[in-house]
Symmetry: C2
Subunit: 342 residues, 2 copies
Amino acid sequence: MAKRKGKYTVVFDDPPGVRESAAVGSKKESEGPLAQAFDVINEDSYFGEKTWEKAESRMQETAINKALEKAQLSSADIDCIFAGDLLNQCVGSTYGIRALGMPFIGLFGACSTMAESLAVSSVFLEAGAVTRAVACTSSHFCSAERQFRLPLEYGGQRTPTAQWTATAAGAAVLEKGEVGPFVRAVTIGTIEDLGITDANNMGAAMAPAAAMTLKHFFEDTGTNPSNYDLIITGDLGKVGTDLLRELTLKDGYDLEHHHTDCGLMLYDLEKQDVHAGASGCGCSASVMCGHILPLIRRGTLNEILFVATGALMSPTVVQQGESIASIAHLVYLSSKKTGGRV
Amino acid sequence: MAKRKGKYTVVFDDPPGVRESAAVGSKKESEGPLAQAFDVINEDSYFGEKTWEKAESRMQETAINKALEKAQLSSADIDCIFAGDLLNQCVGSTYGIRALGMPFIGLFGACSTMAESLAVSSVFLEAGAVTRAVACTSSHFCSAERQFRLPLEYGGQRTPTAQWTATAAGAAVLEKGEVGPFVRAVTIGTIEDLGITDANNMGAAMAPAAAMTLKHFFEDTGTNPSNYDLIITGDLGKVGTDLLRELTLKDGYDLEHHHTDCGLMLYDLEKQDVHAGASGCGCSASVMCGHILPLIRRGTLNEILFVATGALMSPTVVQQGESIASIAHLVYLSSKKTGGRV
């Protein structure tokens, strides 16, 4: 059984473990500092398909199949897959998963989906509702740009606060057992909205959500940033990271020496001309599944807070004058099944 | 703890109960056979807002607040809300919930969302991850038409197989305890796709998903249609219902005397000119939350299978030639906490 700690946090008695994970990327991802973290790179951004939406589905399917292969499992071994993405009606996931025959829980958390899918699948495992699960998400620069901003053909100039949507996917296979990293606790996010209306400044819109979820977790557990090897948010980029550190400092938590952001890691911000950093569900998904989870498995990192952030707006409501509502879900990952911080 | 029964079904040891539920509708819903089932009717389809998307959010917020009021609870009593809808990026839910301050798990299941949200919240309750939850969804005729089909101003003619998207929302408050109806078991759906490409024939696209989930549940539990007072699908409408009965008969299950569909109940198909019936997340949500759950609470109905169906496509992928992938999630509801069929 899980138990609640404080008002917002769920702690697992028998923490589920991430048996394996995999990351898929494309050309730009292969030119960044985390190139080696990707299990599969396809320099063709169409991934052999005829449209970018189908490419994104193919990418998600590839990530799932790669994670299963690494775990020496087949899709029939999975009781349920938890996935979602940024595309309208989450078609990156639904059409990516269609051929696999797995029971499917569709999630919507925008760029927070990797944390949301890890959290929800962990609760299902803890409940005994499933014995083995996959958590998965993706994003694609081209499908996202044309859906959320402008047609690529328009060649619109990007603002300094803009982030670059990653063309990437990540998938993790979870089960109960002695193989970690272990999901020790989760804090489900609340919707925060400080009134940002600029769809080219997602980092600023999402930082308050990350700050609120971290505050909830630290209060609930009586811990603070120095208790963790790394607090990794995603995807705030440069603008959002500065704002997050300012906001958390006001709450009495100094992140400076314990924090990084997936949006600052995936690309070289200067050389790759990505302005404020990376974004998209696939950014934190690939950074976690390809880079951080293996580091925890090897014991290089031990106590990690993963706080994925998502902007919950649609172009339609922003055109109607709405501000950008955001959310952040937190997953506490540890190399150890017991002890630790909760 | 939950336990798995067969390959697809989850049975609850300490079944969560639906403490209260509420349904909200608009003018057309108030003229149908289930008019009395609605807690709130607002004949203004804008619900006092300036756009249909904002109207849908307002409707969802109204349903949640009404369910909380009937349960004599406030939003602070809720550990997590599980919600989603048909709009791009689920903005019906996210902007409807924004002001409530509840931790939020965003779901995407298209018109299957009411069953998905009941299923996922029940697993969270069973795990001990939450002690009280809300499950919620909505749809709006005007926001759905312009997003999925044509601008209303175009005045496009509707085909005989078309269904009418309900302008409605439903919300349920769940907790562990002695108050039912009780969620006794759930079967998470798999994605089915028999190649239908007509976005005006959703019933036919979704029927195979309902048939598959029912087959999984009956096989897993060793039960059959005659063990239940009512099997209620949603939202297949007339075309989909005929096809479902044909498909299940091939599997050896005769639904004829034990089955109805939410899409056949909400409107008078002849008098209200809705062609093949009702559809939309709000259809099965309002039929369940306003009509069926109260009937189970009063003991008029005792053993119910609720099988909500969703079409997972987006207009973009359909324009790219994709067929309509569908899913159906099943929730077994009973007036009794023990005994029964599992």
